[in-house]
């Protein structure tokens, strides 16, 4: 079955329509998706700002950046769970939406960026603090991450205007 028809089917399953037709379930899921932003994306943004030397310059980045990344792990499960549920209820409408597609691409690129950071730069973080701040590679990853997550939020908000 082609993807679009599968999305249509998904949106019209009994599970999806039960969420859509409930007076409180859809608002609850959508509200949770938005209000988990600060405890997921927000923590990543603060970590990125630290790496760029724009916030928390009084603290060693090797120590404080992992703290913010840890805190983001509270919010991201909520984000993915509620985002998945929202997608199920609107799969047919989301399929062709250019902002939804861009959001997905940004999310994938942000995940790759985070994996690169984790693999190549994270193990050396302790060394930076004795030197003068994060190396160029880490700053690039942080700036890229900042731009991608801002893009995810902008696309997520804008896609809803086209439903």
């Amino acid at each position: 079955m082609p993807l679009f028809e599968w999305c249509q089917w998904l949106q019209h399953t009994r599970f999806a329509t039960a969420i859509t037709e409930s007076d409180w379930l859809f608002p609850l899921i959508e509200g949770s998706h938005i209000l988990a932003l600060p405890i997921s994306v927000g923590m990543i943004l603060i970590a990125d700002l630290r790496l760029l030397g724009l916030a928390f310059n009084g603290e060693a980045s090797g120590k404080i950046v992992p703290r913010f990344l840890q805190l983001s792990r509270i919010g991201f499960p909520v984000m993915f769970l509620t985002g998945g549920l929202l997608l199920i209820t609107q799969a047919g409408k989301a399929y062709g939406n250019p902002f939804f597609r861009t959001k997905l691409i940004f999310l994938v690129v942000a995940a790759i960026n985070a994996a690169v950071y984790q693999k190549l730069l994270y193990p050396k973080m302790a060394e930076w603090d004795s030197a003068s701040g994060a190396p160029a590679g880490a700053r690039f990853c942080a700036a890229f991450s900042l731009a991608l997550w801002i893009g995810v939020i902008v696309c997520g908000r804008t896609m809803a205007y086209q439903f």
Partner: protein, 159 residues
């Protein structure tokens, strides 16, 4: 009341009309509102976790508070200015909305609480207080700010 005609004339002002009627005007302003919310509540959560002794324990509270403050205040400026634009573009949508009124009441309370109460708990010379008191203040702070967010979401669903 004289407020309504005034608001209506402001909502017909050219820059406001441009935001309301252009294809990406409202999504852009709403995106700023959401980015501001993300940053504002993130800084509040970090500060309150520390105050309640639930996270960031090896960092001094006054030093965390001092370094978070410019980002909290910057985010407040972003949410309020974008929120004002959203309100002025479509005042009719908000004036009679009960969740909107609740949101404004919670916003005023959250701002007052943040700058009049919470701040006293995070200054360098603040006396050592019982952990329970700190935890209650942190809980109230988080509840008020997230309450503003939930009331905001409710505008779309409840008249």
């Amino acid at each position: 009341m004289a407020l309504l005609p005034l608001l209506q004339s402001v909502s017909e002002w050219a820059p406001i009309v441009l935001i309301r009627d252009s294809k990406y005007g409202m999504p852009a302003v709403q995106s700023f509102h959401l980015l501001g919310l993300t940053m504002l509540l993130a800084t509040v959560v970090v500060l309150d976790l520390r105050l309640a002794d639930l996270g960031m324990k090896d960092y001094g509270l006054p030093s965390l508070a001092r370094q978070l403050e410019p980002w909290t205040i910057g985010a407040i400026v972003v949410v309020i200015s974008s929120g004002l634009l959203i309100f002025l573009a479509t005042p009719g949508k908000y004036l009679d909305s009960r969740p909107f009124r609740l949101k404004m009441a919670l916003l005023a309370s959250a701002l007052l609480f943040h700058f009049a109460v919470l701040r006293r708990f995070t200054t360098p010379d603040s006396v050592v207080r019982p952990r329970l008191i700190n935890a209650i203040v942190a809980f109230l702070s988080v509840t008020l700010w997230f309450g503003v967010g939930w009331a905001g979401r409710a505008i779309a669903f409840i008249p």
